[in-house]
Symmetry: C2
Subunit: 595 residues, 2 copies
């Protein structure tokens, strides 16, 4: 992620790229962050040392876990946080009233060199109330970070979690393709979605048993433009229907299929003019591939093993399949539901595939985009198996079946329950728009200023913030599963392996448990040291973030991860922090007067 | 929208900017569009003349109407559709198998000069099945447009519809602010959302009765960059919590407020060092504004009219309000729910407002961000009215109350039913992410090729496409409301005022009605004439699109627009088209064999 080009920023002798999207600048923020900065400056408070926590209050999608994503983009924003003269002039014109020269000078010097960011590693499974980022620094500067950082974390974590949930229900053996470009929220919605779907476990590798891009790889992107890095990811996630802008600079092999329109744009095989096709080994040429297909279709229609179930198929569809095979004989994947899957699409596919086989080509498979996917995939599989036997076509029974009709967690689950023969899912709308829950409610709350802990009260207890600059730990039990997350004050001793510690629910006094951890993991690590001199955690490659995420998901106790009535994971505070929260609460809340 | 800079394209002597988002290029498409282009080219079919319809099948949000948006961006894409050499090389490397020189030449010459686009005007209220765009041209080129055009229309129309629904339930008299930047789907999600929320009826003007930006205006943006144009819109929609990048180049007056963190960052009024404030007319200076506030707070606490209900208020909150007022005496808007709205926030606000009034400043109002908004706004209003009377502060009873806590259609509706005193709503998450339904399912279907009508069949009747190059009309009745939309074949005579015409449901043979229109409006207009020589419709200014939309919404029969059980609007086909659809359907669907 480190490069020399594109607005680099120097920190601890390192240079870091800016955010992937060039629109992420210090001005991508709410106006009130600048009005507050001015008010802080007027009050002489702008350099007060503040600590903010970024966290969410509820797991999305009715689940009990969330995948944290978006950290790298936040750090890149912070590393490059600097206002230009033009931006400063605009801010000053915009603020109500006259903008004093002192404030202009102040804005000119703003950067994040005195900001410290501690964060949970990107791709970690996380839970409500535990800070994902702890941002410490001059209050006015940290407030300016609030809006862009929330924007960068909210959707990233939401869509990574959505992808992880789809992967969990689909199972490990299935190929998952992200198909969302056309339905995403705006032109680059699909790009963020693709990146974070990959983190959450969508596939970036090839089919294992067919012709799909077997040499997909990650190139070294250090010297390539920021935008292109994410575009790369986008390609890796969408082998079938991928954003083409994506692969441009990376030389990644991609394969395509066709649409319904392609099928219905043909009228009949007669209109195919160029009918010849070389054998795959180049040894000879079939002069009339169209006739070869027709003769195979007749054989299928007359095959006793198929019970004479195949009648007349749609000729425009046959023409489209034949044309596509002539263009891509090594990558023949047919969309079989334009007219009738079993009466037309599948027999037509088989006729073309058998003709290709004569010339030494192996077909990829079919795609189903409507109808009863469980039933149709099963019926298609039977046909493939019969044809393998009938015509001695080794492996044809395992021809790949892709399904892609408005799939989501529920439909994948229903398919599993019914039984099906789908090998690969193309998931679009429900995945990239997070249809089941379109937003994650991350918030950014002040927890300490000038070493004074602060609390934000609310009539709604779930909205009360947990005060103090905190440390956060994950405690693991004997079986290797994590048992509980615990937050403590910054200066409390670290929980120790084998030592009993009392974990308390932050707001419910009766919910408490003693825990003897077998392993203790500190969650918040230093990703931006400011002036503290601490060592900065490296930003891992996206592939490593993904691996970390998948490992994390595997290590969770299954009852937290199940779709139906998952068990909430425990998030707690130390006894000392518990007492302090409630002391501060009573201290800040006015006592009512009843009359 | 016309400019000389930024990759202009010439058509009919005119120059047009490219799409707002620079990521919208010919490569922002699914790979399969290029594999199909190659297959068409191989089959010699690439220049076959195809007609595609872009339409949706179901209105979003459980409603019976949709606002069409995104057209301008589509036309800008089409006007500038051209592959670079670099892009062509990438495509050729990407396609499986060798890319022939002839195809490279073909790609090099691709543009939309022979494409014709007819579309419904942006901002029009539209209904399922009726084409929003009809795109005609060489099949391979039009297919390349499919993915980006769907991306540009889908979210734009969805969020414009969502905004219109929120406006309908809020009522005309309320101020509606778009608050979504931090929760939007990705860094520029909020920018598209802001643009199209404005189209759908969100406010871009100022409060009428307070200090809010009374001179908001639209500048001439012709010569400014494309990105900034939409950013401008973003600002216009978010007066309170607006994207700052937005207003940068336009000099639009913006006002700000503050957050909970600002309130809790203060400890007590003692920490305010600079306490002096000039009178608004500059005639004198109050040396200790902090004490003036404190004395007003005492008066409030002792005021008999308030029944001694005001006890000790939170001093850190009072300090924050006082500081903010010192920074922005003309724009004092206080967030009053950090500790306790009625016991602390409102009395503190009133104390500061009364102190400001002493010095000739008029306060803006309060913002409620949690709790029972109906109750709290009513209670706050009572206090304001009592203070107006008690202290002779003319107009203080009408102090503006803004509400902003996870608002959506349902909560606005519930507030209306309970009664409330809210003047202004800040709507974020539910609006910009279209939380109630995160995607609109627009599709792009082939309806004719080489003058041969085409149909896409499906087991699901709602997914069967309506074949033929069509014309579309809206027929109006005596009361001025539109009665029905009707699609006819391209060459059928136009429905005439006063002449009876049979309108048939496209798929349900028993649903028919004779209509005698009092007015006939042709819906599809020529927005990109290709080589036809037709006159191109001008792309209207965004403000005009918005005005058109608001007028359209007002002209709809109310029962189509209501939230609960709205009446579906009728969409029909001519008798001739009906017959043809069903002839083609039977013709294309294979006849089954039962044994």
């Amino acid at each position: 992620m480190e490069a020399k080009a594109n607005g680099p920023s120097v920190n601890a002798g390192r240079v870091m790229d800016g955010p992937t999207n060039p629109m992420v600048t210090p001005l991508l923020t709410d106006l009130y962050q600048f009005t507050m900065a001015y008010a802080y400056w007027k009050a002489g408070k702008h350099n007060d040392r503040a600590v903010f926590d970024l966290y969410f209050r509820k797991n999305p999608f009715g689940g009990e876990f969330t995948v944290f994503a978006g950290l790298e983009e936040c750090i890149k924003l912070i590393a490059n946080f600097k206002l230009t003269e033009e931006e400063i002039s605009f801010i000053c014109e915009t603020l109500p009233g006259s903008c004093e020269e002192g404030f202009v000078k102040y804005l000119r010097n703003i950067d994040c060199s005195d900001v410290e960011v501690y964060a949970i590693s990107e791709g970690t499974v996380v839970f409500p109330k535990v800070p994902l980022l702890r941002v410490e620094g001059p209050v006015a500067v940290v407030q300016l970070l609030e809006t862009p950082v929330l924007n960068l974390v909210n959707f990233a974590s939401l869509v990574a979690t959505n992808a992880a949930r789809h992967r969990l229900v689909a199972g490990k053996s299935k190929m998952l393709l992200e198909f969302g470009l056309r339905r995403a929220q705006g032109p680059d919605g699909a790009i963020s979605a693709s990146k974070y779907c990959y983190v959450g476990g969508f596939d970036a590798t090839s089919y294992s048993d067919n012709a799909y891009g077997s040499s997909l790889f990650f190139t070294n992107v250090d010297s390539l433009s920021k935008l292109m890095f994410v575009l790369l990811v986008s390609v890796l996630c969408c082998v079938l229907a991928s954003n083409v802008a994506a692969g441009r600079l990376f030389g990644i092999p991609l394969r395509g299929t066709h649409s319904h329109a392609f099928v219905s744009s043909f009228m009949s095989p007669d209109e195919i003019l160029e009918r010849s096709l070389h054998r795959s080994d180049g040894s000879s040429t079939c002069e009339d591939f169209v006739s070869l297909v027709q003769s195979w279709l007749s054989k299928i229609q007359w095959a006793k093993a198929l019970g004479n179930t195949v009648g007349e198929t749609n000729q425009s569809e046959l023409a489209a399949f034949t044309s596509y095979a002539l263009a891509f004989p090594n990558n023949f994947l047919a969309l079989v539901d334009t007219y009738d899957v079993m009466r037309s699409g599948v027999p037509n596919f088989c006729a073309v595939a058998l003709a290709l086989n004569d010339l030494g080509y192996k077909s990829v498979g079919i795609r189903l985009d409507s109808g009863d996917l469980a039933y149709l995939s099963g019926e298609a599989r039977k046909i493939f198996q019969i044809i393998e036997k009938e015509f001695g076509l080794l492996g044809f029974g395992k021809t790949s079946i892709t399904a892609s009709n408005d799939l989501n967690e529920e439909t994948l689950d229903a398919l599993n329950k019914q039984g099906h023969e789908v090998d690969c899912y193309g998931i679009g709308t429900y995945l990239v728009t997070c249809y089941a829950q379109a937003a994650l409610g991350c918030v950014f709350k002040l927890v300490e200023i000038n070493n004074q802990p602060r609390i934000k009260l609310s009539e709604d207890v779930s909205k009360v913030s947990i005060p103090c600059k905190k440390r956060c730990y994950r405690l693991y039990g004997r079986e290797g599963y994590s048992l509980v997350d615990i937050m403590t004050g910054e200066n409390e001793p670290c929980p120790k392996v084998g030592e009993r510690i009392l974990c308390r629910h932050p707001f419910n006094e009766s919910k408490r448990a003693y825990v003897v951890p077998q392993r203790v993991e500190e969650l918040l690590k230093c990703y931006w040291p400011g002036k503290s001199g601490k060592v900065r955690e490296e930003l891992p490659a996206l592939k490593d973030i993904r691996d970390h995420c998948i490992k994390q998901l595997e290590q969770m106790r299954p009852d937290h991860m199940r779709r139906l009535n998952p068990t909430p994971y425990k998030v707690s505070v130390s006894a000392k922090l518990y007492d302090f929260i409630h002391f501060l609460w009573l201290n800040e809340a006015p006592v009512g007067e009843l009359q």
